[in-house]
Symmetry: C2
Subunit: 430 residues, 2 copies
Amino acid sequence: MPESFTPRQALQRARHDPQPLDANDWRGVIGAFTNGAFTDAQMAAWLMARVLHGISVDEAVALTDAMLHSGTQLTHKDSAAPVVDKHSTGGVADTTTLIVAPLVASVGLVMAKLSGGSLGHTGGTLDKLAAIPGFRTALNADTFLAQTRQIGVAIAAATRELVPADRLLYALRDHIELVDDTALIAASIMSKKLATGATHLVLDVKLGQASILGDDSKTRALAQLCVAIGKAHGRHVTAVLSDMNQPLGPAIGNALEVRAAIDVLAGRTFGRLGELSLKLAAELLHQTGVPFDTAYQQVSDALHSGAAIDRFAQLVAAQGGDATVVADPTAVLGLGEPVAVWAPSQAGTVTAIDTRRLGVLARELAGADMNLRAGLTTNLTLGMASDTVVVALYTDNPAQVAHATAVLDAAVEIADGPVQEPPLIQTVIR
Amino acid sequence: MPESFTPRQALQRARHDPQPLDANDWRGVIGAFTNGAFTDAQMAAWLMARVLHGISVDEAVALTDAMLHSGTQLTHKDSAAPVVDKHSTGGVADTTTLIVAPLVASVGLVMAKLSGGSLGHTGGTLDKLAAIPGFRTALNADTFLAQTRQIGVAIAAATRELVPADRLLYALRDHIELVDDTALIAASIMSKKLATGATHLVLDVKLGQASILGDDSKTRALAQLCVAIGKAHGRHVTAVLSDMNQPLGPAIGNALEVRAAIDVLAGRTFGRLGELSLKLAAELLHQTGVPFDTAYQQVSDALHSGAAIDRFAQLVAAQGGDATVVADPTAVLGLGEPVAVWAPSQAGTVTAIDTRRLGVLARELAGADMNLRAGLTTNLTLGMASDTVVVALYTDNPAQVAHATAVLDAAVEIADGPVQEPPLIQTVIR
């Protein structure tokens, strides 16, 4: 029983006993760590021992459950429609959430999305939405739930009441170099997703350049584990593993990505960004019992009919944003002209792209004061002729152009072609 | 090189690489932990990982060296005579230090003993000396060294400058349940001993009841490792493994043990306490090149000639104590009559003694204000007839007598005999 948890026994066992712990053991440890009865140093030693012994799938389920119970959980009892959510491991030029959220709402699902901070090399959804004048992401739980009932979609910042154990545990993991353990990552992701109360979840997992673990086989294992944890908690979970060896869409940077999302929603562009968005949305609809091909056709129709962009405008308006962004994103987002355009100096074929480095470059162009309108637009694709590449740079600081040029020269490899473009979707784990 | 130590790399390596670390690695970690660059939580995770991978003999040597270099070290450059030291893992009714120290000085060695705090179930040497009116154990390094040159013996409290890493590391080990790791114990013991600058060291290691690790084979391994560490540092080291299945001497408690030591030095008693003291002293003399039998005869002669007790009186006087304690210990130490005498209620043979429990009982009789004159005297020996047992209780608090009676009833097993008395010396590791 968790009541009988003592640091002494837990540490002795962690040191001497490689056998898996049960759900009560995990709840005892997480509870004591969260309330301070198990100190940082004790948890550090304990966690290192558990990681070295290896954390089983059942233990990852138990850890997720323990973390979930460290805080409050949202419930959507009144919702007639299935409540869905989406998690991304973080892509570059990847603004699928801004497309998928209104899209699934427009086909009758409820997207109740709570977002945390952004990852190191990618902008977070909240940063992107902050580029829309007036848009509020700080909603209290009642407002958030009411909006999901009214228009089927809300995107807000996760509150501190949700999975407080995750914040504490992540800070400790970062301090003791345990951020990249698969079981601990899976429990962190899934506890936060389960706490939002969604019954249907799609995981958008990136492989290749800019993958979360820097290694495709580990990333696949992470996706498998996340699906297993979600299913063990009675949720529908699908992981879509897609390629990130090239930028997903035509823009990297907060306001630039909002415009890219609107362009897809408005039917002005489509490309890989549009394709992945439809696949993710279709997987969520498929989870509710619709055959996949039918689901795909339904979301594709909603995109092309304008239903999805109408829902996006409602979302922006409901959260205080300037909904005219839909009609003229460039003007409303305050996007000017690029300060410079880069193109490769060599003739040849684009044979490799350091996608992660491009994500970091967009952040560098934003500068210390986080200029939301900075970044770059790109038509970079593997296998394209180098003389067709156009990368445009947006920044308040023209002194950054020389740096950006050097970064791009190194990040885009030009050699003799041809190069096969990798398939967009590599695996779907249902 | 230690200069290149980074917490991130050290933690990654501890997690992923079971290979032993080299001396520079250990010095880097201990240095960073001591100066705060490696936090408690980081060290906790790191140390747990290293313990789970297993710490080799070479690593224990390297750790000892790193700890040794965390503080100052004493040197005895001017000493014509070999400088010796003695460490005990902590016995019950064991006051050999008060006998061995003046004894080896009286045969021409220099005993420069710095003592730490006492262990859980045994009184420390400093507590015992504090029972002698006026005795000072807080000596600065110059005074301490001068006294060893003048009379060949000094016993003082270890200063904070000596092996500061050990205090920090022990506190952390205690906090994360790593106190009983053999390599960490050995490094802790040996770093403190090596720092006092002695070139010759005897380790008095207890087996059986009240052994340091509660397990004879682990305790033997610890003794082996301590000897190996000392030899790797160019010192003479001998471990004498002796039996602790019965109290070593006739008294447990600070002042009572001082009187017991004086009684041996004065030739009034001898017994197992006298025998072990001679063996330990002879081993030190043997290390300087004297054949063991000759060495034993020499220290035995020094005991019986009165040379040893004369040196004890000089030691007491040099450190401000009342040297008349030698002539009338009972009066000078303020020892009164026992408040009660216990004897077994059953007829039979003493077949087992919970020696550790008797040590704890002596502390309980001293009470919260640490009455130095409390404790018990005992003639308990395995195999003796129960009707010859006499245990006398000394305490300021007569209310403790009922508790002591219950403890003794449980701690002394009376059954049908006969029982073989275990040999005093079980192994000598040279």
